[in-house]
């Protein structure tokens, strides 16, 4: 049961990163890639009907974490108190900037929300990357399984860490570059003309950086947490994951070069998926590693809810996921194709 729920939560988080990832990436590029209000309207419309649903994956995985692993939810959310609150504020600012931008034709109104959208999307991605890196690096868990981390201490990985240190900042930068490419590929799919060409060019510009950062983060992870390789040695098939990551990276560039945007976007989704699966595979069965004493780490067994809760949960969860997938297919089909300003009744 623990194994199943571990992977169910992981799948939901991957769905969140892949789906909300592209609209976050669009947020980063929103000002950089556009030249006029019409183009900015286009980028907003490209994500308008879907961003809210994408974000629901975050809430749904949070809720699932809460009932399947209450100890982890309690420990991690209180321990990462300050960054989580900042994330909440950024989510609020980002939500209103997407939705309220179009409510006025005033130039200052639109420019204000354009800037806010860019700012909040960029910082959110960095915090998400740093958060994942924190979980890989580990935290100073006490004997009661709680901890509390300040935002930063001395920027070093050591016995007295902060949320931000050199390792977690690398995590943030990897996330930023990866999701910016993801967003650019989505824009290439959803737009045409000059905007599409600029989106494609952005991918080529950043691709080399992503390759270097991916390798760098891999090396850094092994240096910070050597034990993350244990599962790989125990199950050598897991070494297929980094191979798949490399294949997806190659796919992004080659499909991008020939203008096959949709295939390149799928490769980027694959890249994000395998990066996350690779990280999570290194953790299993630990949910939150302790940096002081491995025995204090929060494991699946320690954190798992009661058996009845999980059995019942499995039934409604499966049913609910089928419905959710049906809604997503429905919405993405309805708003498929290139964004067309003016022609249709929907917009921002």
């Amino acid at each position: 049961m623990g194994f199943i729920w571990f992977w169910l939560v992981a799948v939901m988080l991957v769905a969140y990163v892949v789906l909300d990832g592209f609209d976050l990436g669009v947020g980063v590029l929103h000002l950089l890639l556009t030249r006029n209000d019409e183009e900015r309207q286009t980028t907003i419309r490209a994500i308008g009907p879907v961003w809210d649903g994408n974000e629901v994956w975050l809430l749904a995985s949070g809720g699932t974490l809460y009932f399947a692993f209450p100890l982890l939810y309690a420990s991690a959310f209180s321990g990462f108190y300050l960054p989580l609150m900042i994330v909440l504020w950024l989510l609020i600012l980002r939500g209103i900037s997407v939705e309220l931008r179009g409510h006025s034709s005033l130039g200052v109104w639109r420019t204000f929300f354009d800037g806010l959208f860019c700012f909040s999307s960029t910082l959110l991605i960095i915090f998400y990357g740093a958060a994942l890196a924190n979980v890989i690096r580990g935290v100073p868990l006490g004997t009661d399984s709680y901890f509390f981390l300040p935002l930063w201490t001395n920027w070093m990985v050591g016995p007295n860490p902060g949320i931000l240190d050199w390792y977690t900042v690398i995590g943030g930068v990897v996330a930023l570059v990866a999701l910016t490419i993801h967003g650019a590929l989505y824009l290439a799919v959803k737009t045409d003309g000059a905007l599409q060409l600029r989106a494609r060019a952005t991918v080529r510009l950043l691709w080399g950086g992503l390759v270097l950062l991916t390798i760098g983060s891999l090396v850094a992870t092994i240096a910070v947490r050597p034990s993350s390789l244990q599962n790989y040695y125990a199950h050598p098939i897991a070494f297929a994951i980094p191979v798949l990551v490399a294949a997806c990276l190659a796919g992004i560039l080659s499909f991008n070069r020939v203008g096959r945007d949709y295939a390149a976007f799928l490769c980027s989704a694959g890249y994000l998926t395998f990066m996350m699966v690779g990280a999570v595979s290194g953790l299993y069965p630990v949910l939150m590693p302790s940096i002081t004493d491995p025995n204090l780490s929060i494991t699946i067994d320690k954190a798992l809810s009661g058996p009845h809760t999980l059995h019942v949960g499995l039934v409604w969860w499966g049913f609910g996921m089928l419905l959710a997938i049906a809604y997503f297919v429905f919405v993405y089909r309805m708003f498929r194709g290139k964004v067309d300003l003016g022609a249709t009744g929907y917009g921002h």
Binding site: G53, Y66, L91, I96, W317, M321, G347
Partner: protein
């Protein structure tokens, strides 16, 4: 303030602000469905446009509800981690179900309702209005199930590690406390929406703008309002109150300001409870009414606060007393106003009688106050427990999140919500001023 007080204020502030928006969207979703149904059945473009207009108001409120709602789910873990750790196996379930069953659905169909009218058939568009209504009402249900378990824990067992786990899924969902509270609460949401709709209608008639729409809004608002205002008192409020009196008698005694037990307990309509002397100052009293309301007979014995040890009393007693009385007093006013307005509508005089349109226009903030006061009654009445009878509130907060950190983020939320409030008021005012389109035009929505 100490850490406990700040964590409580943190949750109280963010949830109170958040609930200003869902109470309208849940009620409005029903009223939009009514408008849409009439529009489709009669093929009436004016009702279609009325539904579109309220769809725009709905969208602004929905966004506010979404962005202020996300912090709620996280705060169980951030500020109340000891509580979350012990109870996740029970209430984590309805909270996760809300995300999985309600939010996905709402996000999908709201897009179709607001921007898909030209892309789908009229029945599909009606169906999306129905699904938005359905999604928001089951969302409310899962939240009430969560709160009901904290008020009246059922279907649980304690595991070896001290955590609670659910023993019967259906008993958790069908907690009698929750069903009563849900019925009462959803009436409250419809009261808010109907007052808002009636207020905009009255505004248009008084201002002689969009008169034909003003009539529709007044009619739908008043009819829905009179039904909801009656139902919120009888049967839902009546039954819920009796249930509270039986299962949380100390809370009921504090709500009523009843210090001493006795037969033929009175209801204090107004007054200032003084906990030092154990009496209510300047009371306006109806004799024996409390006994009658709870037990159906004027002579029944009602337990007063003196029956309970001091450490079981709700911790913020005067606020509880006032919150309850504000809710009940406003509820009485709502029934009176809406019955009068309904009478005028029936006699065909509502659209021409400005003296009734004025109070209808000005009363729209009051249901927000009444709903907030009702929730304060429920949640302050539950104190000093976070889970009634099982876990005290002072054992529930995050012990490693200091008072200073909690104050820091509380101030952050306060500042942010001031900004949201300004944006919200400006935008809603703008939509009301722009009004529905006069001709049967293509909806030129500019929002997401």
């Amino acid at each position: 303030m100490d850490a406990l007080a700040l964590h409580r204020l943190h949750f109280a502030f963010t949830i109170t602000y958040h609930y200003l928006f869902p109470q309208l969207t849940m009620g409005l979703a029903l009223l939009i469905l009514v408008l849409k149904t009439i529009a489709v059945r009669r093929n009436d473009e004016q009702y279609h446009e009325a539904a579109r207009f309220w769809g725009k108001i709905f969208a602004i409120n929905f966004v506010m509800g979404v962005v202020t709602g996300i912090p709620m789910e996280f705060q169980f873990g951030t500020n109340w981690s000891q509580f979350a750790r012990i109870t996740g196996g029970v209430i984590g379930q309805p909270l996760a179900m809300e995300g999985v069953f309600s939010f996905f659905l709402e996000s999908a169909f709201l897009g179709v309702l607001l921007y898909g009218e030209k892309r789908v058939s009229k029945w599909m568009h009606w169906f999306s209005a129905f699904m938005v209504f359905f999604g928001s009402w089951i969302s409310g249900f899962f939240i009430i199930v969560t709160d009901a378990w904290m008020q009246h824990p059922v279907a649980y067992r304690i595991m070896a590690n001290g955590q609670y786990e659910v023993t019967s899924f259906w008993a958790l969902l069908l907690n009698p406390w929750g069903l009563l509270q849900y019925a009462h609460n959803m009436c409250g949401a419809v009261v808010t929406a109907s007052f808002v709709m009636a207020a905009v209608g009255a505004f248009y008639l008084l201002e002689k703008q969009f008169v034909e729409y003003g009539r529709i809004f007044l009619k739908v608002g008043v009819i829905a309002g009179v039904v909801a205002c009656v139902a919120i008192i009888f049967p839902t409020g009546d039954l819920h109150g009796k249930y509270v009196a039986h299962h949380q008698p100390v809370s009921m005694a504090a709500m009523e300001g009843l210090f001493h037990s006795g037969k033929g307990a009175d209801v204090v309509l107004m007054g200032q409870p003084d906990y030092a002397s154990g009496k209510v100052d300047n009371p306006i009293v109806v004799n024996n009414l409390s006994s009658f309301l709870i037990y159906g007979t004027t002579k029944a014995e009602v337990q007063g606060l003196d029956q309970f040890p001091r450490d079981q009393w709700p911790t913020t007693l005067p606020l509880l007393f006032y919150a309850y009385h504000i809710m009940a007093g406003l509820g009485t006013y709502f029934v009176a106003l809406m019955l009068l307005a309904a009478l005028m509508l029936w006699r065909g005089k509502l659209y021409t009688s400005r003296w009734i349109q004025w109070p209808l226009m000005l009363s729209f903030p009051l249901p927000y106050i009444a709903n907030t006061a009702g929730w304060m009654t429920a949640e302050i009445g539950r104190q000093p427990w976070v889970v009634y009878g099982l876990m005290r509130t002072d054992q529930g907060f995050s012990k490693y999140v200091s008072a200073s950190n909690s104050l820091f983020t509380l101030l952050g939320f306060m500042g942010l919500y001031v900004v949201l409030s300004i944006l919200f008021v400006v935008l809603v005012y703008k939509e009301i001023q722009t009004g529905p389109h006069k001709a049967a035009a293509v909806p030129t929505l500019t929002v997401s």
